[in-house]
């Protein structure tokens, strides 16, 4: 997997072109093609970014979890660098979820923040993975940092569903309204055009994630190499 990552530059170039085209196409779908929501109006369009960011963040943290297990088994430091790249992007998209959620809340309920279950879970998720980097950066030896953050990435992810359940139960009596989908639409779920737009949005965000992951991973590999060269020089002085 790592080898493929390094060697197949063409694939990345194709992915980047695909990403650019996809982004333009999805922007067209969201802002020009898909009809406006009848009740929520234009602000509903943020939903395509909100949900896609949430999906990407979740995917990123799932990858951290899987790579954590793989690292503990094979101890390849590159696996850990990939995991940390994924966690970093996960935090980025979690932040986007929080911001778009807050904008949404402002227009729907006239408040900047609401303790709605999914949004609250996202906030906790944000804290969990910020702590991932706090631990990681406070351990000097790379192997130790890799091992500890792998273990943390595993438990962090296992904790997420429990956090979600607890927060949902916690809020359920106070806010029975479910956020996002289901509002102002016919009872069968989403409008078909909206669903198509959403699916495209998810796909483009996933490609964006993979391209970012690749870039961040390459950058981390180079940083590690520079560090080791610096160390060698320090030893020789």
């Amino acid at each position: 997997m790592i080898k493929n990552f390094n060697n197949q530059k063409q694939i990345m170039n194709i992915a980047e072109v695909l990403l650019l085209a996809g982004m333009l196409f999805v922007l067209y779908l969201i802002f020009l093609w898909v009809p406006e929501d009848k009740r929520l109006g234009i602000v509903q369009k943020i939903f395509y970014f909100h949900l896609a960011s949430a999906w990407t963040a979740f995917l990123a943290f799932f990858i951290v979890f899987v790579l954590g297990i793989i690292y503990l088994i094979n101890r390849n430091i590159q696996i850990d660098l990939l995991a940390s790249a994924s966690a970093e992007i996960g935090i980025l998209f979690t932040t986007l979820v929080l911001i778009t959620g807050s904008l949404w809340g402002r227009s729907s309920w006239n408040v900047w923040w609401t303790w709605e279950p999914r949004l609250t879970t996202t906030l906790i998720l944000w804290f969990i993975y910020i702590a991932y980097f706090l631990i990681r950066d406070s351990i000097e030896e790379p192997e130790k940092a890799a091992r500890i953050s792998s273990v943390y990435g595993i438990i962090g992810f296992i904790d997420v569903p429990i956090v979600f359940m607890s927060i949902r139960w916690w809020r359920s009596r106070l806010h029975p309204v479910v956020f996002g989908e289901g509002q102002g639409r016919s009872r069968g779920g989403m409008d078909q055009d909206m669903l198509i737009t959403l699916l495209f949005s998810l796909a483009v965000f996933t490609i964006l994630f993979l391209v970012l992951l690749h870039l961040s991973y390459k950058q981390k590999i180079q940083a590690a190499e520079i560090n080791s060269i610096k160390q060698d020089i320090r030893h020789q002085l």
Binding site: I154, I162, S166, W169
Partner: protein, 225 residues
């Protein structure tokens, strides 16, 4: 398995023994608990506010913050003379270290609770007559979960330069479900509604079990010197 059990007891005994000699951790935890009570009474004007609303949250804040003091030192104190390496070389599965520490921390915190919770009730002039048994069980289940994940994270963060800062930052988000569940259950017991316990009990038990069993599988990876 028998050896495993014996090693757990040996390590727990050692912890208790060290604490009996030094008395640092437990006494600090008790003093801190009482201080929390005093701070609450200053900040919340408990004379006038309906106590039932605040009680459960205040109680758990007291428990959690005082436990944090004990958890913070749990693995940090093995750094002197690198005694942790001595434990790691013992011919038992390394998770025995975790369970020994867990048991000891549980005993410390329970001991502190036996003093701090009655004091809490006295200072706030609060009585629990009905459901005292349930109250105790819920406190125990909540404490168990918190100490399990806390002991685990105490080991995890013990390698970090600034473990004192990082332990709470990792512990609080990860233990959110437990805090929500424990506060809810205590609230329900006090207001003696008697209904709606079951989802919260399930939640806490699931949390307890998950964080009692996961260390068995991955604790070994934390403690390589």
């Amino acid at each position: 398995m028998n050896n495993f059990y014996r090693a757990v007891i040996t390590i727990c005994k050692k912890e208790l023994f060290l604490e009996m000699k030094r008395k640092e951790t437990i006494s600090t935890m008790i003093i801190f608990s009482i201080l929390t009570i005093v701070i609450f009474s200053f900040s919340f004007n408990v004379e006038q506010v309906e106590k039932k609303i605040l009680f459960s949250g205040m109680l758990w804040i007291m428990i959690i913050f005082s436990s944090l003091l004990g958890l913070g030192t749990s693995f940090k104190k093995e750094q002197n003379n690198n005694t942790l390496a001595g434990l790691l070389m013992a011919p038992v599965d390394r998770s025995a270290i975790f369970y020994g520490k867990l048991l000891a921390n549980m005993i410390f915190v329970t001991f502190v609770e036996l003093i701090s919770i009655p004091l809490f009730l006295i200072f706030f002039n609060f009585t629990i007559t009905e459901n005292l048994l349930l109250f105790t069980v819920f406190i125990f289940l909540g404490t168990l979960g918190f100490i399990s994940i806390g002991t685990f994270l105490s080991a995890l963060t013990s390698y970090s330069r600034s473990s004192d800062l990082i332990l709470p930052v990792t512990l609080f988000p990860l233990s959110t479900p437990l805090l929500i569940g424990s506060v809810k259950l205590t609230e329900l017991v006090i207001n003696s509604g008697g209904e709606g316990y079951s989802p919260w009990i399930q939640l806490i038990i699931v949390f307890d079990i998950v964080f009692l069993i996961i260390p068995l599988l991955i604790f070994e990876y934390i403690l390589e010197a």
